[in-house]
Assembly symmetry: C2
Homo-oligomer: 371 residues x 2
Amino acid sequence: MAGRVQSFAPGPSMLPDEVLSEYQASVGQFRDTGLGILELGHRSGQFEEMYESTVAHLRALLAVPDGYEVLLLHGGGRFQFTMLPANLLPEDGSADYIETGHFAAAAAADAAAYGRVNVVASTRRDRFLRLPRAEETRSTAGATYTHYTSNNTEIGTQFRKLPRHHGIGWLACDASSDLLTRRFDVGAHGCVYATSHKNLGTAGVGIVIIRSDLLAPVRKLPAYLSYATHAQASSRFNTPPISAIYVMSLMLQWTADGGGVEAMEKGCTAKSELLYGLLDDSDFYSPLVAVEDRSKVNVTFAAPTPDLEAAFQEAAAQRDLVGLWGYRKVGHLRASLFNAVPLTAVEKLADFMDEFARTNRPRLPAESTSR
Amino acid sequence: MAGRVQSFAPGPSMLPDEVLSEYQASVGQFRDTGLGILELGHRSGQFEEMYESTVAHLRALLAVPDGYEVLLLHGGGRFQFTMLPANLLPEDGSADYIETGHFAAAAAADAAAYGRVNVVASTRRDRFLRLPRAEETRSTAGATYTHYTSNNTEIGTQFRKLPRHHGIGWLACDASSDLLTRRFDVGAHGCVYATSHKNLGTAGVGIVIIRSDLLAPVRKLPAYLSYATHAQASSRFNTPPISAIYVMSLMLQWTADGGGVEAMEKGCTAKSELLYGLLDDSDFYSPLVAVEDRSKVNVTFAAPTPDLEAAFQEAAAQRDLVGLWGYRKVGHLRASLFNAVPLTAVEKLADFMDEFARTNRPRLPAESTSR
């Protein structure tokens, strides 16, 4: 598609041309329905078929074991900060939360409306620039679950292995920014959730993968807040975000066609290594986070001054490379390498970064002195 | 657009060609962003501008008085069955609910998770085929609010005037199926909400219009459940359903271009009168609901037998007239006349109905006898 830029935004992500073309055609007519995707009925056979194949695709790509429900809900990932504890944190119980960023902290804060929350590890004092080490992570006896964020989009940290937990409760994971970017052991979790607009399409859907024995809520809830409601209705308790689910179905097909999760993992590794290699070799840019905790989907770095970081983004935009701002509470620069971002775009970014450093490096000492 | 059918479905509604064409173009490129609408960032100036103009359009079309917030949220209308009482029904207080259909009943049931619910009027014993009369509607002293459904999509009843309430609390209205189809006194309400996929675009957004003094929740809530959270964040607390909001913005523009709410009301009147006139003159079809409570957006009727109702839908589909099934708990037939359904489509439907009645009438007595 002509006139398009390469987006490294933290989400919504750019989407593959194939997905966009097929979705675009569906706006005029979805399959043989005589209606466009925006007009499709959620009680129609065509939607049902599309929904079922989307869930089947998710199950296959993520190797979801038997005994798990897959739900596609309104509200993105954020709504799960509420639904998870509303359904599963007993009023007289507690849950452990690992605090590795502002979203992890927000999940813990929302859970506190329902029960006791133990922040069992936090790297807040290190401005979340690293993950807690296993020996820094306590566990609470009797905690119902341990919640963590697999990848911190803001600052660019990512758990390489499952965080330590006490082994009695179950793990709950906000996998919003790295689900489908690498192999992932769903079976080690009681509940995994993610938003759609990073590696699974566009904004508007939340994905919840939950062990079937956890579906019954621990308290009286209005129907909409209960996982059981949505499971019973195959995610059609109310009119679902039909068109966003269709985008997801196209994105999952694209993911499968591209070799599935293993291929995506290889891609993320190659894309991130290209940038980290450049950053490590640079005397101009500095990577922000601890080497052992680096994310393969969000690469964060600093240029020597805030002015240069602003100039970097402007110059990049002139090359059609956009979305490189850092999270607003963190600042600096960030390249998000979601599945739909092609290696060629990252190569183009790397070339630009090299050139920008070369062009702006000579002036640095003089500028620094003059301040 | 070629090969399209006319949909009389109860939602998602069909959409005007102009809306579909403009939306379709935006999938490849939204304005001058270099990205499509599915990829647009919610922190971008372009989204902000689009969001603000959507809200401004809604305010203008509905003549929303000062002192009201307009929110565009995930979760459709149904999520408001939860949010409304979660925010505003005190644990030791009560709310009055008028039960005029299955959705009105579901709203009352969800509210019961938060406080005492008084069903102050119900036409359940009449299978919701009429609305309660003013003298049948009690009011509870001290009730915080009185909730009603302005139009019952299932069965086709619609309040012509505001329901009676005790005058101390405020009115809450689920206007999912008739918001923007007629003049509506927002200022007589504390809270009005609606889903998007009937007269405001496609599925995926809930519209909430709420008096600013009602924003503070009456109980401790996780952030996501609180109206205040979303008001403070201009509906961008989490990534909004961007693309569905854009469809809404196009639909609102189309509504304004078509003459606004007054013109829509005239359109609904003309479309519904055409069908009710036909039904009243018919010895084949029977309208389902009481004359004085007839909806202008959902016209429900029966054919002489279930078999004929099935045959009706099949024959209609052959003329590209679809979505005429009745609500699953009600059965029979229903034509939904949302704003985007053109009068010409209703004329085509009326012609078909005439013809179907003519063709199938003569066999009736014999068939009836043979049973």
